[in-house]
Every structure is written in structure tokens, then in C-alpha cells.
Amino acid sequence: MTTAAAPATFDVSGTPGIPFARLFVVELRKAVDTRAGRWLLGITAGLALVAEAIFLWVVVAQDQDASYGDFVAAAAFVCSILLPVLGIMLVTSEWSQRTAMTTFSLEPRRMRIVLAKALAGVALTFFVIAFALVVGLVCNLLYGALHGSIDWTFGFLGFLGFLITQTFAMLGGFALACLLLNTSAAIVVFFVYKWVLPGLFALGAALMSWFDKIVDWLDFQSAQNELFDLPMSGQQWGHLAVSAVIWLVVPLLIGLWRIRRAEVK
């Protein structure tokens, strides 16, 4: 007497979804405990220290005045070069290292993963900024000891602007990464957009008066530079919003659509 065995089913209906906080912690961990991520963070910190040491040495040797804000700005400039690369690799490494398969099997709602990644990127940005503040503090103390006088001037409005521009830089890399889903391509496009395009915009604006009128609405980098002179006028906020839609929102939306649809292989 044989009875047909009931087909084996795997009942997950009673299992709660993965809490968002856990996704966030996992994504944060992915950014720091791989070889690529760890080296990137290590090099960012190392370069910031080297730049600060050179800056300190120059201002002391040349008898220049430097304030706390200047030291923080120097560290932050260095960090802002590599931070977006971290944002890019958060997304693209899932594809290049083929971890997307595991990630999206364990949490099939892909947008939750993307959101967790974006938040992890922002968290790392804040961590790097905190690092810049501490390094700047140490350097300013050293400067005081070596130079005799110490200046604690620190523009808080400028710092707020800096916080926003760093977050934008990180998210700009993130958006391009979602759009291209390829590490090399995203890094190339990001560097061209951040370091080459402003020069071309300035050239175009110098040559053509009509372009000069619209360039403020197109150039995300120069619109962000206004953030360092807070408070901004309504028109400047307008420039920022319009150029951010072009360079941040549009690539991000197309990228999210791609991630939703992409075959994970």
C-alpha cells in the first residue's frame, strides 16, 4: 500500500521580514570588511593625514595664519575625492563580486537593499566628516604648539554646507553606480563629471552668452559651491534644485529602475 508523499513545502509565511535595521548593519559591514572597502577607507584616512601633515608643515614654515576651519577643510578636501568611490563600490561590487545573488535571494525586495545601502553610504560620510573634525583638532593643537598662537575660528554655516556637499558627492557616486552597474565605468564618469565638466561649462559660458545664462541651472558643482556661503538666495536654491534633478535624481531613478529589473547572475 503506497501513499503519495505530500510535496515538501517550505513555509515562510509565519517568518517575519528582515528588519530594516539589520539590512542597514549588513550593508555597513559590507562596506568595511571586504579587502577593497577596507583599503579604500584606510587610504582615505591615510591620505587625509598626509595632506594635513604637509599643510601643517607649510603653514608653520611659511609663518601663515591658519584656523581650525582651515585644517578641517584640508582634511575634508582629501576625503571628498575618495568618498564617492566608496558610494560607487557599495552598489557595483554586488555585481562585480556576484554577491547580488545572495543579497537579493535573502531580501527579494530590492529597493529595501538599495535604501539600506544609501543610508550606509550616508553613515560612512558622517563618519569620515567626524574623522576630519578630529584630525583638524589635533593639527590645530600642533599648530598652536609650533606656531605660538592658536585660532579656533570655525564657520558653522560653512560646515553645514560642507556636510551637504559631502553627502551629495557620496550620493552622486551612488546614483551613477546604480545607472551603470559597473565599477570602472561609474568611476570614470564620476571623475569626469566632477573634475572635467566644470571646466567645460566655464569655457562654454565664456564663449556664449545664452549658455552663460543657463549654465548656473546645469552645473551641479558650482551650484554646490554656493552652499559654502550660506545663507543662499532663493535663486541659488533654485539652481541647486534644478541641477540636482539633472545630475542626481534622474540617474538615480533610471538606476533604480535598472536594479529592479536587472537579471541577477
Binding site: 577593497a36 583599503w39 595632506a51 604637509i54 607649510v58 614654515a61 611659511q62 601663515q64 575625492i81 575618495l82 568611490v85 563600490m89 562585480s96 559597473n182 565599477t183 570602472s184 565605468a185 568611476i187 570614470v188 571623475f191 569626469v192 573634475w195 572635467v196 567645460l200 562654454g204 564663449l207 556664449m208
Partner: protein
């Protein structure tokens, strides 16, 4: 009755080694027929076209009087940015795509493969220059027919030669950094940081300190290349180019080659 079978041997002692010409051919093909390489080449040509079209629209709309040289400078911009990326990827993709295993199994003298890669990069720079010259000429002719102004061709032989040298140097720098890191993102980031970001602190340092200003041409490879691209290079400029080139091109290349010859292929 059993006899021990003679151990199987693959006798390659009379097989000729892979000819160098074939290695170059293979490396050239690798640059063009992968998705990454193919798209990069297409992007370079497309961007060059785009730059020339924008330039043409601008000079026509503003009634400017460009020369052939100006169009060549226009086409040089995208080439100078993207060709070094090709240099980086030509070596790092062997590691990231794991083709190094096959490449170095079929040709175990790794330095021959590296040489073939370098030669293929030189060939690509020649091709890029030819494409750029053709596109620049077309733009100049189009400008003449649209504006009705006289065409100015001028003598560009020297400029073309300096572009060629500059492409070779930048591709070789990309290749050297690629060989140093054996990792695409690291190679690309360091190359871009060195060519776009580093000039800023160098310029600030030179403005602040007199001694650094006189030291800068000896250690800043980009700065040392500018007289080459302007076509004004002479005497001490060559010494600057050589010394800074040793730092940014020679040193990473030597360490990179050493790494390639020693590294485990996996």
C-alpha cells in the same frame, strides 16, 4: 601479466613558441572585442564626435574663426581623458576577469605578454590619432562650407607628433598604475587623482613657496607635459619631463612589472 604504463608526457620541446606578432594580435583583439573594451572604444569615438559637433555649433553660432588646430585641441580632450583608462584596463582586466590564468598558461613568459600589451596600446594610440585627425578635418571642412570663411589648415605636423607622444605617455602611465595595483578601480582612481586632483595642491604649493615653484616641474609629470602639448618644449623641459616621468611612469612600471612576474595567477 601487468606492465606499468609509461607515464603520459606532452612533448612540447619541438613546438615553436608563440610568435610575438600573434601575441600583439591577440592583445589588440582583447582591447576591442570584450564588452568593457568595446564600449570604451565606442565611447571615445562618440565623445570625440560630440565635442566636435558642440565646438562646430559654438563657433558657427558665435561667428568665431577657428583654425584646424582648434578642432584638433577639441578632439584631444576626450582622447586624453579616456585613453589612459584603456591602458589601465588592458592589464587589470586580466585579473578581474580571471583571464590571466589562460593568458599566462599559454604564454608563460609573462614579460612577452606585457610587451605585447604595450605594443598594442601604442597601435591603439596611432589609430586614435588617425581617427581624431579625420574627425577634426571633417569638422574643419564642415566649418568652411557652413560659414563660407576661408579654411585655415596651418602646419600641424609638430602638434600631431606631440599629441602622439602625450597619448603614449598617458596610456603608459595608466598601464603602469594598472600593473602596480592589478585592480581596475584602484588603478583608475589613482590615475584620475594624479591627473585631475594632484595639480591643485601642486599649484597651491608652488604659489606659496618659491623653492617648491622651482622644484615643481621636476616632480609634476602633468605640468612637465604641458610644454610638450603646447609644442614649446625645449632644453630643460626635456629634463623635467624625463625626471618627473621617472617618478610617475618609470617607478610604478618597474614595481608593477615585478609584481606581474611574481604574482600568483588565480
Amino acid at each position: 601479466m601487468t606492465t606499468a604504463a609509461a607515464p603520459m608526457r606532452l612533448d612540447v620541446s619541438s613546438t615553436a613558441r608563440v610568435p610575438f606578432g600573434r601575441l600583439i594580435n591577440v592583445e589588440l583583439r582583447k582591447l576591442a572585442d570584450t564588452r568593457a573594451g568595446g564600449w570604451l572604444l565606442i565611447s571615445i569615438v562618440a565623445l570625440t564626435l560630440l565635442v566636435l559637433i558642440i565646438q562646430l555649433a559654438v563657433v558657427l553660432g558665435n561667428d568665431l574663426h577657428p583654425k584646424f588646430v582648434d578642432f584638433l585641441q577639441g578632439m584631444n580632450t576626450p582622447m586624453a581623458i579616456l585613453l589612459p583608462v584603456l591602458g589601465v584596463l588592458s592589464i587589470t582586466s586580466e585579473w578581474s576577469q580571471r583571464t590571466a590564468m589562460v593568458t599566462f598558461a599559454l604564454e608563460p613568459s609573462r614579460m612577452r605578454v606585457v610587451m605585447a600589451k604595450l605594443v598594442s596600446l601604442v597601435i591603439v594610440s596611432v589609430l586614435a590619432l588617425v581617427v581624431g585627425l579625420v574627425l577634426g578635418s571633417v569638422a574643419n571642412v564642415l566649418y568652411g562650407s557652413f560659414s563660407g570663411n576661408d579654411l585655415v589648415w596651418g602646419s600641424v605636423g609638430k602638434l600631431v607628433l606631440t599629441y602622439f607622444v602625450a597619448y603614449i605617455l598617458s596610456m603608459a602611465s595608466g598601464f603602469a598604475l594598472g600593473a602596480l595595483f592589478l585592480n581596475s578601480p584602484a588603478g583608475i582612481v589613482v590615475y584620475f587623482a594624479y591627473s585631475f586632483v594632484l595639480p591643485i595642491p601642486f599649484a597651491i604649493g608652488a604659489a606659496l613657496m618659491g623653492w617648491f615653484d622651482s622644484l615643481r616641474p621636476w616632480i609634476d609629470f602633468n605640468f612637465a607635459q604641458s610644454p610638450l602639448i603646447d609644442g614649446t618644449i625645449q632644453g630643460s623641459d626635456w629634463a623635467h619631463l624625463f625626471t618627473s616621468g621617472l617618478i610617475w611612469l618609470g617607478l610604478p612600471l618597474v614595481i608593477g612589472l615585478w609584481r606581474i612576474s611574481r604574482s600568483e595567477v588565480k
